[in-house]
Structure formats: structure tokens, C-alpha cells
């Protein structure tokens, strides 16, 4: 009987001592937490994608409160989320244009071809290590899906019929994980706009060479630059680039392009 009693007393006493120590510790070592941090964390999208540049949603909430970070950086949450955060912080939300990924390559399997058959680890990074990739064009999408594995939202896929990565614009939140994973840097994150076109090519070779490599490659002919009424298009290194700030979405360049690489992003 006493052994049972002793056992009960022993465990209870250890538990009680532990409880007292923990309560004392939590009072003595109390770390004040700004309640706004928790509120903001609750209204953020909670995807921990890192599009805001912080280590996670909680980290971003902390940086808003403590370091005065901008309130509209949560791309998955969008404008609604920015408004809620702004309300908690008591500031203006500012505009929040959704950012989406664009794969700037039109070189599907029909338009370009491979210079060798690659057998090995199925990764763009690995293929890139062998003579700059297996495609004839060394600038384009390699199609081995490093971006697919980087995407936390299942928003980018390599279409087996097209051989290049395609962005699902509904699911894309513009976090930029795919752009960082792409060894050829064909993916860029641009503000979502239904009419503003982008040049879907990265080829910086001379026009004649580009024509040999891929039937859908920018040859740097300058036709788009001449057609643009707002002077938003510049051709550098035989590659056209559209300044999204100057572009008004008239789409004259889309009609003018002889190789058809200028398009608004597919919806």
C-alpha cells in the first residue's frame, strides 16, 4: 500500500514541481509579442511561398509590424489580403497587381529539334551541363521540369506534346520559385495583364542562325519596334523586349511579328 501511495506522491510531486517551474519561467521570461503580428499572420494566405521575400507568412507579418514592410506584398492573397492587412495596420493598402509567371519560349517540339538524345537524370540542370542542353537552341525551355518540381502550387507543367513548360495562370501566384529553378532563365514574373503582349523567346543569336535552329524564334528584325506607337519595344542582342510600363496593350506588334513569338500570355 505505501509503495502505491509513494509512487502516486512521487509522480504528482515531480509534475507539480515541473508545473511551478514552467509557470514561473513563463512569467519571468515573458517575451512581449505584438498582437498585430498574430492578426496579420491569420489574414495572410498561409502558403509560406516566399513571394514577399520573407521566410514565411509569420516572418512577413513580423516584418510588417516591426520593420514597416509594405502591406501589399502577399501575391497569393492579392488585393483582398492587402486591404485586410492595411486595416490592421491602419494604413493605405496601395495597389496590388497580381504577378504571374511566363515561360518565354515558343520552341515546341515541332518548331525546333534536339541536337542529341539525353539519357540520364531527368533534370534541366543536368541536361544544361552537357553542351548547354540537348536542344539546338541553347536559350530555350529544356523541358525536363525543374520548374515543375519547384512549384508548390501545381501551377506549371511540361506538356509532353509541346515539350515546353506551360503555366496554369489560374493557379500561379507569382512566387518566382520556378524562375529561380530554371537554369536557362526563360521564366519571368510579370504583372498580370490580359492585353499586354510579351516576347516568348530568349534566343540572342543572329537572325539567320535563329531561323536555322527554330521556326518560332525572335530574329531581331525590328518590325515590332517600328510598329509600336509608344516606343515600348527595344531590340537588344537580336532579341526584342517589351517594356511593360510603356506598353498600352494595342497589340500592333503581335500582328507585325513575322515569326509569331509575340503574344499576350495564354489565359
Amino acid at each position: 500500500m505505501d509503495m502505491i501511495l509513494m509512487a502516486i506522491v512521487l509522480v504528482t510531486v515531480i509534475g507539480l514541481i515541473g508545473a511551478v517551474i514552467l509557470v514561473a519561467a513563463s512569467i519571468v521570461m515573458y517575451v512581449p509579442v505584438d498582437e498585430r503580428v498574430e492578426k496579420i499572420t491569420a489574414v495572410l494566405a498561409g502558403a509560406n511561398c516566399g513571394a514577399c521575400g520573407c521566410a514565411g507568412c509569420a516572418d512577413y507579418a513580423k516584418s510588417i509590424v516591426e520593420d514597416g514592410n509594405a502591406v501589399n506584398k502577399c501575391t497569393p492573397g492579392g488585393a483582398a489580403c492587402a486591404a485586410k492587412v492595411a486595416e490592421i495596420m491602419g494604413v493605405e493598402a496601395g495597389s496590388s497587381v497580381p504577378m504571374k509567371a511566363v515561360v518565354a519560349c515558343s520552341g515546341t517540339c515541332e518548331k525546333t529539334s534536339k541536337k542529341y538524345e539525353f539519357e540520364g537524370i531527368s533534370s534541366c540542370q543536368a541536361v544544361k551541363g552537357f553542351y548547354g542542353g540537348d536542344g539546338i537552341c541553347k536559350y530555350g525551355c529544356l523541358g525536363y521540369g525543374d520548374c515543375v518540381r519547384a512549384c508548390a502550387f501545381d501551377a506549371i507543367h511540361v506538356d509532353p506534346k509541346l515539350c515546353i513548360a506551360q503555366v496554369d495562370r489560374e493557379k500561379c501566384v507569382g512566387c518566382g520559385a520556378c524562375a529561380a529553378a530554371c537554369p536557362n532563365a526563360v521564366i519571368s514574373i510579370i504583372p498580370e495583364h490580359k492585353r499586354k503582349p510579351v516576347v516568348l523567346c530568349q534566343n540572342k543569336d543572329k537572325g539567320a542562325q535563329t531561323r536555322k535552329d527554330c521556326t518560332a524564334g525572335c530574329i531581331g528584325c525590328m518590325k515590332c519596334a517600328k510598329a509600336c506607337p509608344k516606343e515600348a519595344i527595344t531590340v537588344e542582342n537580336n532579341l526584342a523586349r517589351i517594356d511593360q510600363d510603356k506598353c498600352v496593350g494595342c497589340q500592333l506588334c503581335v500582328k507585325e511579328c513575322p515569326v509569331g513569338v509575340i503574344h499576350p500570355p495564354k489565359q
Binding site: M3, M6, L10, V11, I14, G18, L22, A25, S26, Y30
Partner: protein, 206 residues
Amino acid sequence: MALKLASIFFTMILVDNYVLAKFLGICPFLGVSKKLDSAVGMSLAVTFVMVVATAATWPIQMFLLTPTDAAGNLKWDMGYLQTIVFILIIAILVQLLENVLKKYIPALYKSLGVYLPLITTNCTILGVTILNIDNGYSFIEAIVCAAGAGIGFLVAMVLFSGVRRRVEQAVTPKCFEGLPITLVAAAITSLSFMGFGGIVESIFGV
């Protein structure tokens, strides 16, 4: 003495590795070994808690649960309470540690992050504390053993996160994708550690 301590330390890392030879702590081993930095963070937290938990549970076992008098006879035997008391102590310790780190070493608290509360009921911690008692180690030996077990955990995690990186890049048959191929890889890693059997005894001659 130093030789014996060194022998215990290296035995825990190479021969009696808690993950690869004793098969304790498999869930963090499989769960947190995907990325190298989180694997290292988790292992450091485990090592830390192992040493502190051993330092706290060893005296409790010796002076409260199974105390002996000068002649070495048991005064009373409440050894059957070992598991529940040890879990209680470890839970309290981890909680306390979290408070202390949060207040005084916020950088470490941040880097350990979610791993600290995760190891409250980690079986390696309980395993180390109980096996230290079962092996009849002295206090110093128990501490060294706990530190060795922690470093062994670190070695296993770091090695395996490298293995896993390679496995994930490889093309695996559909039916083996994900956890199955990871378990196969873990088995082979564990098999390779069997090769260390006897190495420590021959080096230190203990």
C-alpha cells in the same frame, strides 16, 4: 577513463547509431531529412535535448526511483515508474528550454523553430535516457553517451539527406515512388553502418 569515454562516444556514433542500428527516431529521420539545413537544425536540437535530459533523468533514477545505500542495497524500488517519470521530465525540460531560448538566445530559438517542441516525445531521447540507466553508466559516462548518440543522429541525418537528394533526382518505378524507395535507401544506409561493427573495440582496445 578517457579511453572508456572515447570508446563510448564513438561506439554511439558508428556502431550503436540510434537511427541506423537501434532503429529509434525513424520518424524525424524520414520526415526531416529532405533538406540538409533542416536536418542539421533538427539534429542539433536533438543532441542538445538528449544531453540535458540525461543530465536531469540520471540523478532522478539514482536518487528517487532506485536509490541505494552505501552497501549497494536498494532502499526502495520504483523502477517501474521510469518511463512515465522520464517522459514527464523530458516534456518539462523541452518546454523550459523553449522559454529560455526564446528569451535569451532568440537567434537559436528561431533556427530551431518548430523542431524543438517536436522532440518532446521523440523516442530517441527517451531511448537514450533509459538505455543509459540499463547500461549502468556513471553520470559522466551517461552524458558522453548522450552526446555521442546526438552526434550519431546528426551523422545519420546528414548522410541520409545526401542519399535522399540523389534518390529524388533518380527515376524510380511508379510503385516505389516516394516513401517506399526512401525506406529501401534507409535500409541500405543502415546496412552500410553494420560494417563499422567491432571497429571501435579494435581502435581503443576496450
